[in-house]
Amino acid sequence: MDHLFLMLLHAFLISVFFAFLWKRERQARWRYFWKVFLALGLGAIALGWLMYPFPRS
């Protein structure tokens, strides 16, 4: 499977889990889900780009 897909699947599962664990109202859950999902997804991509100039030797 595609690495990006696996990372997004992982981010999705974690986001759903914590949205239901910590939030009670439907709206709050959606907001929290998107916040965590985007933070994980975009954060990982940003980190990947930041690491780009430092390849493993």
Binding site: M1, H3, L6, L9, H10, L13, I14, V16, F17, F20, L21, R24
Partner: protein
Amino acid sequence: MAAGVTEAPRAIGHRLPLWGLMALAWLVPGLGHLLLARRLRAAVFAAVIVVGFVTGILLEGELIMPRAGDPLSYLAAIANLGSGVLFFAARAARLGEGVVTAISYEYGNTFLLTAGMMNLLLVLDTHDIAVGKKD
């Protein structure tokens, strides 16, 4: 209680001893919440943990057991044991032995470890709901 007002029936989970409820919550992902009548949360948590665990197994991840001289393996074993019955079922079926050379090995481990840790968090959440700290 005022006359004519009936008390809502207590969920099965409230009638169980706390340790028993927490043990069941650990053993079967989502069962703790189900017994406390949190049906939606129980279904979502069970689905998330089962999908995470099965994905980890399919990606050739390893259900890590403690290894002498490798302190981190003890922590990983605790996290993996957190999956409860999924862990024991997979071990019994000789799944989760891990293929270190597989390209998805580390991905699989990540899914397996997070599934176990999420279930351990659910045990704590079940405790908090049962003692009234949380809704």
